[in-house]
């Protein structure tokens, strides 16, 4: 099967950032995104998602390495200093390369 290498960028962040993160990803070249609500814990303590200020999201973007890295760099510089954010990249193979240019 013909597969094409792309990057999967996963960003786990405070729910308050959802709108910004989605807009930034779009601006930096992503053609799509997927989000769902999560709970968790890390250096900033537990985020159980019980109420407004305690909610977290996980945002997935599939894109070319260049776009994914641009988004990652932007998030690192803009949000990581002040917000609870966890981020990683992984390799993905897609079937329709035109969907993730």
């Amino acid at each position: 099967m013909d597969t094409h290498p792309r990057k999967l960028l996963v960003i786990i962040a405070e729910a308050a950032l959802e709108r910004e993160l989605v807009a930034d990803a779009k601006r930096l070249g992503a053609l799509g995104h997927t989000v769902h609500d999560v709970r968790g814990g890390g250096r900033h303590g537990t985020r159980a998602g019980d109420w407004e200020a305690d909610r977290s999201i996980e945002l997935k973007v599939i894109a070319t390495e260049a776009v994914a890295e641009a988004i990652a760099r932007h998030v690192l510089a803009t949000y990581c200093p002040d917000y609870s954010v966890t981020m990683f990249l992984a390799d993905a193979q897609v079937l329709r390369p035109e969907k993730f240019p």
Binding site: E14, G45, A48, D50, W51, E52, A53, D54, P81, D82
Partner: protein
Amino acid sequence: MLPDPLVLFFLLGLVARLLRSDLKVPEALYEALALYLLLAIGLKGGVELASHPLGGLGAKIAGVLALGFATPVVAYAALRGLGRLPVADSASIAGHYGSVSVVTFAVATGWLASRGVAHEPYMALFVALLEVPGILVGIAIARLHAPGRVAWGRLAHEVFLGKGIVLLIGGLAIGWAAGPAQFAPLKPLFADLFKGVLAFFLLEMGLVVASQLGELRRAGLFLPAFALAAPVAFGAAGAWAGTALGFTPGGAAIVATLAASASYIAAPTAMRIAIPEASPALSLTAALGVTFPFNLFVGIPLYHRFAAAAAG
């Protein structure tokens, strides 16, 4: 006199979480009840508005808004001057205390009603009005000191079109347009169930506050002291201002309660976007962990006494 059962629901949630019970309220239920409370408060206020004259409302609005701008400035001065907290944290906490707690308002009106103390029918309007100024002041102070890229457009949205204001104002408008007769078929849901839903919500608040108490240990002494002193001071100021503005003693007690309460719905979200360098844990510990329960147990009766004293 036995404690109000509303407060017992809060205690039940608090104790359950402190004992590490697995009692949990699904997030969707928390959100649903919050939507209901905001809308019901607006509707009830609107319906009462429809059958009451609005004498001197302009002056009252101006006066209460002034109070809403003054309290966060005072709070900031205390946090920065006495507490030596960083600018961003001081501004953010000040914003929370400048804004209001809708649940505290609801408990206060219930408390007054159960004691037969009347108040102006349009108090829900002031809840909506007072959500805003504190947040604006907090952001303005933070940006004066660290002029940064505040997306004011985005923020205005966040502040003026947050679900709190939309539902309160929307409810007021619908209730006012409907009037008592057309509201009647909606009463079973939006009026009769109100106190029960508030009780359920206070159970959830107890769970949330208990989770917040862990932070309290890390907070030092100044912040809890501030979170106890601020509501008393602002409550006294509110009782006095409310009386001076011509409110009934019941209305002045509510103005006092609003001044004394701190936001944990509208403010946290807005502050998180506008003053990212401020620690959300600090403001939530103070507002939710200390001031909210203080107001429930001690504050509301105290502000009523303040208002009665101010009325002479």
